[in-house]
Structure formats: C-alpha cells, structure tokens
Symmetry: C2
Subunit: 119 residues, 2 copies
Amino acid sequence: MDVVNIQEKFDLFQEQWSPKVIGELNGQQVLLAKVQGEFVFHKHDHEDELFMVMKGQLKLELRDRTVVINPGEFFTVPRGVEHKPVAEEETHLLLFEPLSTKHTGDVQADITKETYERI
Amino acid sequence: MDVVNIQEKFDLFQEQWSPKVIGELNGQQVLLAKVQGEFVFHKHDHEDELFMVMKGQLKLELRDRTVVINPGEFFTVPRGVEHKPVAEEETHLLLFEPLSTKHTGDVQADITKETYERI
C-alpha cells in the first residue's frame, strides 16, 4: 500500500520488451514497458489489453489497419484481435491487463518473457 | 476501438465528483473525475480501486494515515479499506476499478452518483 511514482519506476530498468509489474488489483496487473523496433503479431484469446503511451509513439498494427498512439493516449485491444506493437523511437508504455495474460499470447517467440519482474 | 486522448476527454466535462467512463475492459472500467473539496469516507467490500493523479493533488485519508498522490503517481485502495478523497485545488483523476464498483461504496450520500456517463 504505497504510492507508486510512474517515472521513478521507469528509471529502474532499461531492458526493452520486458514488462515490469508495478501494480496489481482485481486480478489485473499494471505493467510498464520500454519498447523499440518491432514485436510479433499475436493475440490473447481471453484478455483485453490496454496500451497507454507515456513517452514516444506506439504503432499497433492490426490486420486491417494501424493504430497510432501518442503520449496521453490509450487504446484497448479486445480479446482475440491480432496486434503487433511497433515503435520507431524508444517508447514508454503503461499496460493494463489480466494477470493471466501471456506476453506474446498465442505465439511463442525468442522475445517471449514467461514471467514478469515486479519492481 | 478508437484511440482515447485523456486530455480531450477531460475537456468534455466540468462537473466535479462525477466520474465519466472512458474505457471498459475485462469487467473493469477506466474513469475520469474532476474533484475538489472533501468526499465522504466509504469503502468497497469487493473492489480494489486505483487512483491516478493527472493534475493537482489528491489526499486520500485512510483511518490510520493520509496518502498524498501527485501527478504521475497512483495508489491502490484495497477492497474493504475505508478512504476519503480530499483535494484542495481542482484535481484530475484517472480511476481504474471493476464495473461493479459503487460511487460511494457502502455509504449513501447526497453526492452519490448511481450511474456514470460514458463520454
């Protein structure tokens, strides 16, 4: 039961594509991630996933369009919808999703993290 | 499935202590609220509630201490814990909580909103 300062948490890690847990409530988790480059197309069959951009710019490629998310904006990918995060510059994200959500969903890739560190 | 710009949503309303729904996922809702002054002490028996400060400062009085939340910070009130939001200046909040969460929890007050508008 402490106040969480989001920027202080971002300062604790540099690794990209490796979400860190900074909060947990109602079976959901709040994650931070630093991303740059291209992720893999994947989907989560049972989890909606919220991407909030804190810095930089996230492009979420969907199969039929690309969604551009700037700082101060968020987008929710509904369960079952394939998406591929892409960021040209290093981009800082806050994610909100169920504890059960797998990093790369239905896809297993080199980039896949099996567990997330809590910071 | 649209990108949500948080500041643009804040610009759509002026009413204080009247949360507006700006997102919904996994049985949870994302709310915005403008608050100033004192709310009432209340608790939610079955819902954890996340308060993120976007502007201003929120003091959350608990029964044994007061938590101060500044912009870029959040605090999660666990289910069952009595809390009373207080803000000296107008403060802008982003809340994350289950859809089932009642505005003033176990307390019925003049300030209580039975439903939240979606904006």
